[in-house]
Structures are given as structure tokens and as C-alpha cells.
Symmetry: C2
Subunit: 199 residues, 2 copies
């Protein structure tokens, strides 16, 4: 019942091998040979699917960022209430960064290795993610359920807090992704002053 073909399988294997290699040795410390070998392919076979190592990083970053954009849009779509929207958004975003922390690190910390054109494409998706968060915060302020002297910096801080979960989270650590997500949801509502306006 799978829609995969030998070509998509090869692409998936290459993407996984590239992600693992970039996570361990960084983009600049990884060769295309490292990636093709880890994917069980010849160096030449890599170029059937990707023009370059940079192209592979871009593919990882594009897919990863589009997935997060879909995720936060879906979180916000679950409710009309900005308080509930922000709570769900932060919970989902943070849980996701804890679960896929290796991938999150690569696509957040290796962006400088992208070409100008590719970086611009990723920045456009990041901007859309920012707009989703800012939209929720702005609607909460307008509705009088959030109070913050700087909605824009607060929105940035909310995303920033979630992104850094990808840096510090460890599978063998003290907390599960759900526990971190629940506490960060609580912190986020405090950051926008939602708690006080209800209390």
C-alpha cells in the first residue's frame, strides 16, 4: 500500500543520511561521499537525486520548515479563542522540537550554509511561521485577553523558546516531550499576560 518507488526510497535514504551526518559533523564537515556511503549508495548515485550537498541541506530545511508551518497553522485552526490558540500552538511547536530535536538543530543552526537564493526561500517560510504567531498574539491583545508592551518581541521570544528546545532536549533526559510542552504552554500564557487578565 506504499506509494514509495525506488527513486523516493533513495531520496529518503539520502535525506536521512545527510541529516545524521550534518547533525554529527556539521554541514561543512560532511562530504557528499559521507552521505552517499551512509545511504548505501555510490557518490555518483547521489547526484542523480541532488545537484549538491547544499541542495540536500536545502531540501531538508524546506521540508522541515513547511512541516512546522503546517503544524502551527493547524494548531491555530483548532479554536477561535486566542488564549486557546496560543496554548495549542506553543504546546505543539515545543513537543515537535523535543521529538525531532536532531533535525531541528540541523535546520536551525546550519542555515548559513545555504545559497542566497535557498536561504531566501527558507526565510520566507520562517516569516510565515512568525506571522502565524504574531497573528495570535495581536488578536489576543486586540481582544484584551493578552497584555504585552511589545507584541512583536514577545512573539519572537515565544518561538525562540521553542526553537532552543531542539538544542537542549535529550531523549534520555529528565522530561518527556509532553511534559516540556505542557510547562512551556503555561510559561507562554504568562509571557503574554493571559493568566493575569483571567485571574
Amino acid at each position: 500500500m506504499s506509494a514509495s518507488t525506488p527513486a523516493t526510497d533513495a531520496r529518503t535514504r539520502l535525506a536521512r543520511a545527510a541529516l545524521d551526518a550534518f547533525a554529527v559533523r556539521g554541514f561543512h564537515g560532511t562530504t557528499t561521499r559521507d552521505i552517499s556511503t551512509a545511504a548505501g549508495m555510490s557518490p555518483a548515485a547521489l547526484y542523480v537525486h541532488h545537484r549538491s550537498k547544499e541542495d540536500l541541506l536545502f531540501e531538508l530545511a524546506r521540508v522541515g520548515h513547511e512541516r512546522v508551518l503546517d503544524l502551527v497553522r493547524a494548531s491555530v485552526a483548532t479554536s477561535e479563542d486566542p488564549v486557546e490558540q496560543l496554548a495549542r500552538l506553543v504546546e505543539d511547536f515545543v513537543r515537535d522540537h523535543a521529538v525531532v530535536h536532531t533535525g531541528a538543530r540541523v535546520i536551525n543552526y546550519e542555515l548559513a550554509a545555504l545559497s542566497e537564493e535557498h536561504l531566501a526561500a527558507i526565510r520566507a517560510i520562517r516569516h510565515d511561521i512568525d506571522l502565524v504567531v504574531r497573528g495570535v498574539v495581536d488578536r489576543g491583545v486586540a481582544a484584551g485577553v493578552f497584555t504585552t508592551p511589545d507584541p512583536r518581541m514577545t512573539s519572537l521570544a515565544l518561538l525562540s523558546l521553542g526553537i532552543d528546545v531542539g538544542r537542549w532536549f535529550r531523549d534520555e533526559g529528565r522530561w518527556t516531550p509532553d511534559e516540556v510542552a505542557a510547562h512551556y504552554r503555561f510559561l507562554a500564557l504568562r509571557m503574554v499576560g493571559a493568566e493575569r487578565s483571567r485571574g
Copy 2:
């Protein structure tokens, strides 16, 4: 009136060159030749001062982390009041990460490249920094001026928020380090529930 000698000058030049190179190409993408050339020295001269590229990264990380530990200890020493202590600590920590963002990125995101022994030494300093933050939060909770269901995760989130400033802050960006520090101070007091207990 400077206490510098030719040897300390060379060490400083090497450290600066290494930091810049690691920031642009990552630890694994940088060669010792890149570093010595940027420092205006021969590759052999680098080894007079450092056993390896890893040794240079360790030196940068050690000095950087010890500086931050001193910084947060000094922030806390300015007051007896946990609210004021936390406000100063977050303000100083965040301002510092905005100002030295390039260095902060290298020493936070390239740690995996350190040897086990060196990583343990850096982790020990990070643990001391954690303890300073946790101490302030715990004293605030004990004094009834902070309320948080999980002081430990809240402490981690406060540091995490500051560390990620090193990732997103740009000198040419919308806000100055002082503006970010002031808003993050405000957010931090909300995160520990300091505002509500006073309000």
C-alpha cells in the same frame, strides 16, 4: 601599560581567528591552516600555543563560559531580593548574548566537537551557571515572591531563552541589546509569576 606579551598577543590572535572561522564554517569545516593563516601565522606556530584545533575550541568555550558564570554571579550579588536578582541576571545574560552573539553561537552550538574530558569541564561550568539561576528561582519561591509549578524547568527555560538570543540577534536588526534585555527581564518576571504576586 598593557600586560600583553608577544605570546599572549599570538594566543589572542589565534583565539579570534578560530572563533571567526568556527562561526562561518563550523568546527569540522575549519582547518588549523585556516586559523593560523587568518591569524597571520604559520601552521607550525599555532602548535606552539595549542595542541590541536579542538584545544582552541576548548579554550574559547572555557573562557566564554567562565565569563558568563562570573557575570551571573555578579548580577545576583547586587541585591538580596530574588525579584531584583532575577531581573538583573536575565537582563545581564541576555544583553551579553546579544552583544557577543557570534561567540555565543560557537560556544553553544559546537560543543559536540569537544573531547569527552573537555566537554565534561564545560558541562561543569554550565552546571554552575544553572545552579546560580536555580538558586535565585528557589529562593524566590521559598520567599513567596515567585510561584511556579516547576522551578527547575522554569530555570532552564529562562537560560534557554537567553541562549537563543545568540542565534537570532543581528547587529543590524530591529532592536538594540539593551532593548532586548529590558523586554526579556519583563518576560522573565512573568515566567516566574513575580508580577502576579506583586500585582
